[in-house]
């Protein structure tokens, strides 16, 4: 099975770290290609960044789709351009946010999304509504660090994830924690062990969902919301 993972920003470092994690957990027969989007901003932390990252990302997806890829994963927790990507692609397209919100609601009564910056909480809440995942949402909480700071300071990142996750568990009733940024990748096992709750790394979860749906040859519906655009 051929799966394309797109990091819709232009950071090569972030792309490499996603690639490393996914290569460890992919099935031996999954042919994985992990790419970044050279024309996009270096990180995605605002609606402006999302807007600028989507057109070049869509070009990559259209090429991959015509090359016969089996599934495409948009590996950014903002799910930039997810609806447009599903419109232009006949191959399965999964966004790591939408996928992990729905998987989280299978695993516990309520989930909390951890996001880097407090200024993005409102945007995540909007996404939760967009993806029809509101009833299971306990809270959205921020680490108070930028994406690049989480990349640069792993020790502080881990400490903050631990503190914020514990607060979400005790104060908001969260039973599942979603690490809502690529910079938080790799801490799921430790946090899960220490707090005794379920912690999801969205990119890893989404790869496994893609492999599973790919096995069953299930794709998104092309009638209605994701119908092909008229003159793409």
């Amino acid at each position: 099975m051929r799966i394309l993972v797109i990091n819709p920003n232009s950071s090569a470092e972030m792309t490499e770290s996603v690639e490393e994690v996914l290569h460890r957990i992919r099935r031996p027969d999954t042919e994985l290609s992990v790419v970044c989007t050279p024309e996009a901003p270096v990180s995605i932390q605002s609606a402006r960044d999302v807007a600028l990252s989507v057109p070049p990302m869509l070009e990559i997806i259209r090429r991959a789709d015509s090359d016969g890829v089996d599934a495409v994963i948009i590996a950014c927790f903002s799910d930039p351009g997810l609806e447009a990507a599903k419109e232009v692609s006949s191959a399965l397209v999964l966004g790591i946010q939408e996928t992990s919100l729905h998987v989280a609601s299978l695993l516990g009564h309520k989930y909390t999304i951890l996001t880097p910056l407090a200024s993005r909480i409102a945007s995540k809440e909007q996404d939760v509504r967009r993806f029809k995942a509101e009833p299971a949402c306990a809270s959205v909480r921020a680490l108070g660090m930028t994406v690049l700071e989480t990349e640069a300071d792993p020790a502080r990142t881990k400490a903050r994830i631990f503190e914020v996750a514990r607060a979400a568990m005790e104060e908001d009733g969260a039973e599942v924690m979603i690490l809502g940024c690529a910079g938080m990748t790799g801490y799921a096992d430790d946090i899960e062990r220490e707090l005794g709750i379920v912690v999801l790394d969205p990119t890893s979860v989404t790869l496994k969902v893609a492999e599973g749906l790919g096995d069953l040859n299930i794709r998104h519906c092309k009638h209605g919301l994701y119908a092909s655009p008229a003159a793409a």
């Binding site: 024309e39 996009a40 605002s46 807007a51 351009g81 919301l225 655009p229 008229a230």
Partner: protein, 235 residues
Amino acid sequence: MKILVININTSEAITDKMRGVIEGVKRPDTHVDVICPTKGPDTIDSSFDEAYAVPPTLELVKQANQDGYDAILLGCFCDAGVEAAREISESPVIAMEEATFSVALTLGNKFGLLTEKRPRIAMKERHVRRAGLLQRLASIRALGLSTADLAAQPEETKRRGIELARRMVEEDGAEVIIMGCAAMAGYNDVLQAELGVPVLDPTVVSFKFAEMIADTGVSHSRVGLYHPPLPKTIR
């Protein structure tokens, strides 16, 4: 007062039509410019089209801030790029769909949304849900005619639009109707007289909303959802 209306598609014909409607309802002391980007799709029919319309629109929003407009109206009943536009704008940015929903809430319990194409119903519902307004939505119904039929059969379009709006009122509990389709523009008064409920034309309503916001001198909050983006390198 100086207001900029950005039709986010590149069609001069649609921009001219929009200018005509707005010139007809603006206050005498309002100066209005109605423009469209030079790059991007010439109509917006999909999320794909929206994706390509937004970056050129953002450039116009940036420029409008330098040019000292008191308010900026994004003239597309899909609100593409509104969050990004607000992030980069000091001037208030009014979104046509959101402004029309907001006004509808003040006129009745639930609103019904009339749209053109059936495939867009799901996306409209998603917009309503994202705005947190699902409880105030009666229904979304589509004319379901092709663009060619809409143009060729104005009487049939009108008849069907009235019929659908009537069913939204009688069967779905709509107390306000939003005319979310350009093909029905101009039939507001007919519809309002036929049905006896308020009928909102998004272009008109959102423009008057923009004048009101400019009058009050408030702009969008910059502490949360519309926080200015961090400075960064964009190649």
